[in-house]
Symmetry: D2
Subunit: 281 residues, 4 copies
């Protein structure tokens, strides 16, 4: 699928500050960036770099003086996500056989306190044998038990808040999904991207669980088709994969995001419990 | 310095479980493992692996049936940690110039919620210009304001608990140091090791701050000489560098740790505000 | 029912301290204290007082110097708790008609953060019309979803911890029950007492919900018969009705509690979903 | 002093709801309500009641159907608060001599987790002997260490959040003051009122500490003169003395508050460390 994605972030810098942005579409075997432009207005020198051991594409920028600026990213991206038709075939991987690079995604992180949710996770999902079914059940449970309420949470909100308060936005749904997976010893990570049909338009977040040697996408918000995303980054949680990490004193003044189809046909893959098809980016 | 280190961990496995141990002395340019043995009694097959992009040495073990076992590690290790005599020379590194692999240590993590401590950190330490002095002040502040009380905290305790409850053990002192550094945009990470003269004998934890392109060791507990440790691992916090991560149902029944000098002379480097010498492993 | 109750608390006072004890059996229309003795060994002067607007019986004691002492309470108590056979008859009371003295039990308190559990409470229990059935469902849900594990929590643990960690002791079961009731606008309060057959022997805690102008007892632990308690106190939560509130520096060195039947026949009322009988003290 | 106070709260009721309002000026020996009116537009039947063992004046209202309404209170109030010129004379009261009705204000409450702040409170203020000086030091410390930021907190925010995040509004300043007092065994309670010169205009909150058998007012925000308030209520914390407790589904659509002087002369009492005068309502 070809998508046209677009984001524009506007800031007012109060004191000298450093920004780390993560808005570029990933370049992977399944995702080709056909064209892209990044414009900072007024011009500020930036440096691109990738994170260690991940394809995440970061841009770093130092702003030495108070000023306002806009950073705009536009890209046309071709995605070919893998569709997993038959989840029965996705075997559970023994923890003892996991790759070293997958293991960090088993541990609790800032917003995913899996260490505190083990008893709850085992009691709700522990008796489901198949890992695929287990994560699917987690995603469904969050969808049914957490209310999507714009503005109900903030950047400090964690899975532990969401399990008691039962409200949040995509970021919170993802964090809770990750925490419940890890509580059950299933590696899970945070996924950010541009998302087709997301309303209100914004960056999207969901989560990936490591099943059968693949990172399968789950979106407990059920707001967008599973194959309707352009991946930006993955990480342990929003601490690793924030759209913007800001060190200094800055006010975010506006944000605009869009994600449209750039070709005529698009067969969306929606959640369907009877005939589950899943997707890996 | 040559050290003889020793650890023996005993477990009672209730249900099939997977263990990830991290008790081996690191092998680095500054730390040579002269000899080492790992014995599991009764014998259980293990697999050694290293974490991604770190020298941490892990051992993975699957225990399929209820049983008791002991894992014992013994090593003779030669350490040559770098001594930093003049902290004035350690310039602050601009965030914009940090290596990509250092950047994750700026972000909040499970036990180090730096995102919630920014105002407190700036008000207490923000006016100290030199990064070295700043982290030293953080370490001193923790030493003076947090009471070391064995058994006062548990594996869920985080920097946010410690900043209000003001008590803890080495793990908690380290987590608070890391959180305050990151709140001030100073990369910081968790350090575990064997420690000479530690009483009561146990694994030790402290923290490293990234200053002048080196990871300098700070130990807010002031319990051991700065050059008296044999490094096991570093990580974002105790979630990454736990001595034992256990997935399953297991009871820890005993733990014994020792760290002795294996040669005749040892000039310990203690904290000394007037003539500060610091150490990098 | 006649019960013989007994408690002995032993303390080592480190620095001058004030104690407020709450171990006396209540004197109410339904509970007659036939005989009782309170002995402090060695003798320390005490002052008895009652709390404002409640029959709770407190003893205050100032210990001016380091010393060890034991406070022992023994009583024979005759209880005649009301048995509510038919819960259908217990009508819901409109909030608008509640007595002023009941209203404080609608508000969140230290260990019962009902303000954070409203969405969860409504989603689980909101569709149950009859208040009696609603509170019964809450109590059953806690019994099924929270594991009773001695020593798993401490005096800081609150309902918010229990809703995510899903383990605790009688105090935690009671706090969660209270918080869920209040989240649904049902007045609820903490109940402490001596409990027949409690094993291991200790003070017991459960909760009361205000239904049909009566405070009905619910015990989510299901550890003791509903009519097998001798009431000590009620309060908003354990902050109000602690067995011992200590201001100073004191170590609790031992505690012994017992509650036995002082007559030959006792027909215990246990939980029974098919033919529910409830109890009000 | 004569004040004219005014408040107008506007709500949009979504589902049948019960309101408990607490906006009336208290009637006490020191505060005379010369005239007052309460208007609900459109008319809804209300019931006035007072809380148990407190002069707080509540209004209860049931709204059976979705609707919008405004509740407006206007009053002219004459206050004669006691001025305490010489704080040396205010002796500490032994805990052992406190009235039974004061004792609940020693215990932790929903937003004032004094049980978790004891070590911090003792280390910062424990060496100050005079209770007056101690509470004054607490109030000053909060003023200096917590930043007043409108909108930085919400109705769930507690003293434990404020001690780490170091920002808040009057409610948060008051809760932290109360928690620190109680951690030091000083009875303290929440105070709400109309406040002269408060900008931006709103209801105000501060706290009272029980010193020398009087409830002395402390306002860690230092936003209004100590004698410039018309008292509405006191309570353990905002859970007891909320301007509006709402049980149901309601949106608060607007709020307007004012407090003006109704006579020509007013000598405000401001904080003054050199010549401290304090006030009791």
């Amino acid at each position: 699928m070809k998508f046209k994605v677009n984001s524009a972030l506007q800031y007012s810098v109060i004191k000298p500050s450093t920004f780390i942005f993560n808005v570029h579409a990933l370049r992977t075997a399944n995702q080709t960036v056909l064209e892209e432009t990044l414009v900072i207005d007024p011009y500020i020198r930036i440096e691109e770099f990738t994170a260690v051991n991940s394809p995440n594409r970061f841009v770093r920028m130092e702003v030495a003086e108070p000023m306002n600026f806009i950073i705009s990213y536009k890209a046309t991206v071709d995605t070919h996500c893998n569709i997993i038709e038959n989840r029965e075939g996705a075997d559970t991987i023994s923890l003892g056989k996991l790759d070293g690079e997958v293991i960090p995604y088993l541990f609790p992180s800032r917003y995913c306190q899996s260490d505190k949710l083990q008893r709850l996770a085992y009691s709700k999902f522990g008796n489901i044998q198949n890992t695929f079914h287990k994560v699917h059940a987690i995603s469904d449970w969050i969808f049914k038990n957490v209310e999507y309420i714009s503005g109900s949470t903030n950047s400090h909100t964690s899975a532990l808040d969401t399990i008691s308060e039962r409200s949040g936005v995509c970021r919170d749904f993802a964090h809770l999904g990750i925490a419940l997976c890890r509580a059950l010893s299933i590696p899970a990570r945070y996924f950010t991207g541009y998302a087709f049909k997301l309303f209100p338009a914004d960056f999207h977040a969901c989560f990936e669980a490591y099943i059968g040697e693949r990172w399968i996408v789950f979106d407990a918000t059920q707001l967008v088709p599973l194959n309707g995303m352009v991946k930006i980054a993955s990480g342990r949680d929003a601490a690793d994969a924030a759209v913007a990490s800001i060190f200094g004193n800055v006010i975010s003044t506006s944000i605009a995001v869009s994600c449209d189809i750039a070709e005529q046909t698009f067969e969306p893959i929606w959640y369907d419990n009877s005939n589950a098809r899943f997707v890996a980016y």
